[in-house]
């Protein structure tokens, strides 16, 4: 039980299948997410990563094993409380926009949880400000870009004040500009609001911002560790068809050619520093 107190989410040997005749989507998976931690889950399609997200806020229930959210065991009775604690942003920006305007959409979650109107107005303003969409509050969804719609979706989740925000491939359908918008927004709200983030993605570049990375393959955890630790196992990643970021690739190639880097670089700046250091050593 001591572990329960520290961790916000705990999976105990969770197994899940969608259909009897299909293989396990998740197989005896155990994992924890701590408060205010940024965890990324990667894996390609069918690795079970989206299933993890849906289990966390009770959109699905496991066939085996138990899930605890903030000390509550996931069940039919606790699911509504859990959905208040765990917010979720989905992949398609259009198909999660319920309201006819931006502020109506942010209000939707608050209305569901029976928040009084006065408080609602305050919370809507705050959360729209947090994602930088306050100027668009009266806009209809079809006048927004994909990235803006996803920011509104994040605001809608934020307004309910959850402890964990799950981004289920929330950047997959966006252009590069939209992606940076979302990544910046996520990092900012994480600093300001003290929430945990679970980012599900197959873009290894986005993973570099996380505290911890979990690599999923065929419903099981393959690798777990900091981004640096994970990128060092590039051969395993290649084997399951995941392409590591360009910077990590260069580091790996350099190593192969006998040019050792002291530490694993995560971005262009770190790589440049490493290269300068090598240069001055020569």
């Amino acid at each position: 039980m001591r572990e329960l107190e520290q961790s916000f989410i705990q999976f105990d040997e969770v197994s899940f299948w969608y259909n009897h005749d299909e293989p396990w989507a998740l197989k005896e998976l155990s994992l924890t997410i701590k408060k205010n931690e940024f965890v990324a889950v990667i894996g390609h399609n069918g690795s079970g990563k989206s299933t993890i997200a849906k289990l966390m806020n009770g959109l699905l229930f496991p066939q085996k094993g138990e899930i605890f959210v903030d000390g509550l065991r996931l069940s039919e009775e606790t699911v509504w409380d859990i959905r208040k604690k765990v917010g979720m942003v989905f992949q398609n920006p259009d198909n999660q926009f319920v309201g006819t305007t931006v502020e109506d959409d942010v209000a939707f979650g608050l209305e569901n949880h029976g928040i009084p109107r006065k408080e609602m107005i305050e919370r809507i303003e705050q959360s729209l400000k947090a994602v930088g969409m306050l100027d668009y509050r009266k806009h209809e969804p079809h006048r927004l870009s994909g990235g803006q719609k996803q920011r509104v979706a994040i605001a809608g989740v934020l307004a309910v004040a959850p402890d964990l925000i799950i981004l289920d491939e929330a950047t997959a359908m966006l252009d590069p500009k939209g992606r940076t918008e979302i990544m910046k927004t996520v990092q900012r709200i994480r600093k300001e609001k003290k929430v945990s983030i679970l980012m599900i993605t197959h873009d290894l570049h986005e993973v570099t911002f996380a505290d911890r990375v979990i690599v999923m393959n065929r419903g099981q955890k393959l690798i777990e560790g900091t981004p640096k630790e994970v990128f060092q196992q590039h051969e395993t990643l290649w084997e399951i068809g995941l392409d590591i970021p360009f910077v990590a690739k260069i580091a790996a190639e350099l190593k192969q050619r006998g040019i050792p880097l002291n530490k694993q670089p995560l971005n262009n700046k770190e790589l440049l520093e490493e290269l300068w250091r090598l240069h001055s050593n020569m």
Partner: protein
């Protein structure tokens, strides 16, 4: 595409725009009933005056309103002609081929067409000055008492507001699909009617498939955001009656009294 307006709503700040949608619906509801009791020149005059004054107060250009009535002109003219030839009251005025036109018929024709015209004018004033979502809210509020007999009022209103929200999205999608199919050689614009109707099939099938997919994902997203039906739900958009609404109610009652007095 950016300033697409759903329905006929014309944005504005006029008195009529700012009325509570419930007030507008109620007044129009009674207006539509009362108009069938008009039976004298003066009673028609009062109702017509009320309609024209309302139309002027919307500050919507007359051209806009008339254009909105275009599809019903034909129906009004048809009603007029029908009454003209069928009614056989009063003196014979003149004769077209084997039809006799009576004086009573002329009056009847004018009266019924005017009735029809006023009816459509008033109802279109509602849609011209009220956003669809405000109408939805008003309907939800006014049907409220039906909740007691388990009528799904909230669900109905939510369904309406979600359809309103998805109309532009699906229109954009239709455009995209039609371009994609046109690039594969589907011809929507030329050829005999039969072929053109057939060309719609490859447009509709993908549209329906994607609409169902959207519905499924939307339901999932709504559930994830804690949606569990109308019970215990609060509302963000609030309807509030103001002094403007009471003023309209009082003047409308006055109009009704005047109307009753003017009836033959």
């Amino acid at each position: 595409m950016n300033n697409l307006i759903i329905g006929q709503y014309v944005p504005g700040e006029s008195m009529v725009h700012q009325l509570d949608p419930r007030t507008k619906i109620t007044v129009i509801f009674f207006y539509v009933i009362v108009i069938f009791f008009a039976n004298s020149f003066f009673s028609y005059f009062i109702l017509a005056a009320f309609a024209f004054i309302s139309a002027m107060l919307t500050r919507i250009p007359a051209g806009y309103i008339i254009r909105g009535l275009k599809p019903v002109w034909l129906l009004i003219v048809f009603t007029f002609l029908l009454h003209l030839f069928v009614t056989k009251e009063g003196d014979v005025l003149f004769r077209i081929f084997s039809f006799y036109v009576y004086s009573g018929a002329l009056i009847q024709g004018f009266a019924i067409s005017l009735r029809f015209f006023l009816l459509i004018l008033m109802t279109s004033l509602l849609t011209l000055t009220t956003t669809p979502i405000a109408i939805t809210d008003a309907i939800e509020d006014m049907l409220g008492p039906l909740k007691k007999v388990r009528f799904p009022v909230h669900e109905l209103a939510l369904m309406m507001s979600i359809s309103l929200r998805f109309i532009p999205t699906l229109m954009q999608e239709t455009e995209k699909i039609s371009k994609a199919q046109a690039s594969r050689g589907v011809d929507f614009r030329t050829g005999p009617i039969k072929d053109r109707i057939k060309a719609i099939v490859p447009l509709l099938v993908p549209l329906f498939v994607s609409a169902f997919k959207r519905a499924e994902e939307l339901a999932m997203a709504m559930e994830a955001r804690g949606y569990k039906g109308g019970e215990g739900r609060t509302k963000f958009r609030e309807l509030q009656l103001s002094s403007r609404d009471y003023a309209l109610f009082i003047s409308f009652v006055f109009v009704l009294l005047l109307f009753w007095w003017a009836r033959a």
